[in-house]
Point group: C2
Chain length 350, copies 2
């Protein structure tokens, strides 16, 4: 056991608050699947340990996948522990030479106000280079997903027609911008007129299609066909009817990137609904489908930061964020992702 | 216009017979979609032209795809012309220095007894190196499909579990054997006990599953799961319920090769039936789906022949063939493919 030294040290206690993941949801996740636990936390630290106060806590669609008991990409999220999540916070006490009080850090410390983290679990953030919240967005997991998903699986070429579903979301809005920079013609699909204006007017996409304004798959498909004339790359964040509409529009050697299926996360993963068969289109067009996850590219984060970091620093990439205030709001914030109301990355400010 | 020389030549007439593709099928293709045309054909030949008498005419599932008006990988097969098909025949007259009477050749001359072909349309066959019919099987289009589909899209590694649907068919039986040679554990799916015995006892596969003995997708899936324990490569020739059963069994980084969807060729391509959504499995397993067509690898045929040719010559690859006799039987032979009764490559001997 490591010796712990408190020689010049007056211990202090913090009132910690934690959202404990308590019950697996069948459909929509919400408050009822969590228990709020309050407890005292001393700032006594082991060697190389750091006490972090969360400031921004992430809610992401992938969390809902891990909450299912089966059909996840991983072991299911255990019950009875703090909900895992990415966090940006500040160091309030440090027993590590690498971190000092006041430092901004990112960690995977979950839905809790305070966490003791080993220094190896922390990434120090440079608040001058980019807003600290970008560690949960364009310079973090969503950015990595967008970048490697598009570049490795989507293989964009100048002139390609790229269709992005969930285009106003955390990952989609980045894919759309990366696609423009790669020389693609980019068409975003999103729900509602406001998001579509954001896509064309703010992000500068070539066109946007509001899937909510279409009552049938056929009507949506015709609208996408009208603005694309065929699809070279489909970057899919949503699945469901939007994907049903797009797939028959693929061109020869199209690349379909499966990044998410948020339309199916409210229980549709375990008992999937029915959709038209479409694999013959893959044959006719000699197309590919590839599923991608951010974790597969964690080790290559440096590659991405080298390219995207300067763009962010120069303000050439818009990292749209939506904030919800209050630690109490975390379960509701997660739930709201599945209503599709957030623009860009959704963060809870605590 | 090229001069034609008949100096030492006594013209001769042949009674040609041709199956004309006359009407597009909605469901199963058959006699009613063809007209049998009989006509005289002289053996007058232009320079570099060769008169070929068909001996073996191919029927292949892809023909049914091309017969649809839309949703094909190509322009639809025109009405009112000879049904296109691969043929093995013999030269009966030649105005080309490269071909002599009696030579065995392969051509894409369609469902007719006699055809005048430019020398550039013919491939001379070496009847000593392999049975001439192998030009329509293992050393022809089905072999190319199997080889490049498996090697390029399936990317087999020793120890991989390879599941082949339509495993007793022309392409499937070759994929299965190529997979064994690549060191895979190979499980074939086929219809009926006789085909399954062929797969295990004759081809030496590790296991076979008779999809016809399962009333539900769930039961079929359980049977495939029991013999595979998870699937690294799924080489799909059939689509439909077999594919519904296999996809949820894919392992991390699985490769799904879409080579055919014969279960859907009886009208199911234009008005697809419904099946459970499955793209989330692609995400969870970071898997790929790739559609492949033989034509994309035509230019690389030499690469394949270099490897597979010696195997065929040494009798190490079983090219199972089923013969139907009689030119009149061609439409019925094509139709019979969709009953799944043939073992290996189906050929009509004329």
């Amino acid at each position: 056991m490591a010796a712990i030294c408190f020689l010049h040290y007056i211990p202090m206690n913090y009132q910690n608050r934690q959202w404990i993941y308590a019950t697996r949801p069948d459909g929509r996740v919400g408050d009822e699947h969590y228990v709020l636990r309050e407890s005292e936390m001393s700032d006594a630290l082991s060697i190389n340990e750091v006490l972090v106060r969360a400031r921004y806590i992430s809610v992401d669609p992938y969390m809902r996948i891990q909450q299912a008991e089966r059909n996840t990409y991983d072991l299911p999220h255990p019950l009875g522990i703090v909900q895992r999540a990415g966090v940006v916070g500040q160091v309030i006490a440090s027993n590590s030479a690498g971190f000092a009080e006041g430092d901004w850090v990112s960690a995977y410390s979950g839905w809790q106000l305070y966490a003791k983290c080993h220094q190896s679990e922390l990434t120090k953030l440079d608040a001058e280079a980019a807003p600290v919240t970008s560690a949960l967005g364009v310079l973090g997991m969503p950015g990595r997903t967008a970048w490697f998903g598009l570049m490795e699986a989507g293989k964009p070429r100048p002139g390609d027609t790229l269709v992005v579903s969930g285009a106003a979301g955390a990952v989609g809005s980045l894919v759309a911008q990366f696609g423009k920079r790669a020389g693609c013609r980019v068409i975003g699909i999103a729900g509602g007129a406001a998001k579509c204006s954001f896509l064309t007017d703010t992000l500068g996409l070539d066109a946007a299609v509001d899937y909510r304004s279409h009552a049938t798959v056929e009507s949506l498909r015709a609208a996408i066909d009208a603005v694309t004339g065929g699809v070279d790359i489909y970057f899919d964040n949503v699945g469901g009817m939007v994907t049903d509409a797009v797939i028959p529009l693929i061109k020869l050697r199209a690349r379909i990137v499966i990044c998410g299926a948020i339309a199916q996360y409210d229980g549709g993963l375990d008992v999937p609904d029915l959709a038209p068969r479409f694999l013959q289109h893959m044959l006719f067009k000699r197309a590919t489908i590839q599923g991608i996850l951010a974790r597969d590219f964690t080790a290559r984060m440096g590659e991405m930061l080298e390219v995207v970091g300067p763009w962010v620093k120069r303000g050439e990439i818009l990292s749209q964020e939506t904030f919800i205030d209050g630690f109490d709001q975390l379960p509701a914030a997660l739930s709201s992702l599945f209503d599709g109301r957030n623009l860009g990355k959704l963060l809870v400010r605590v």
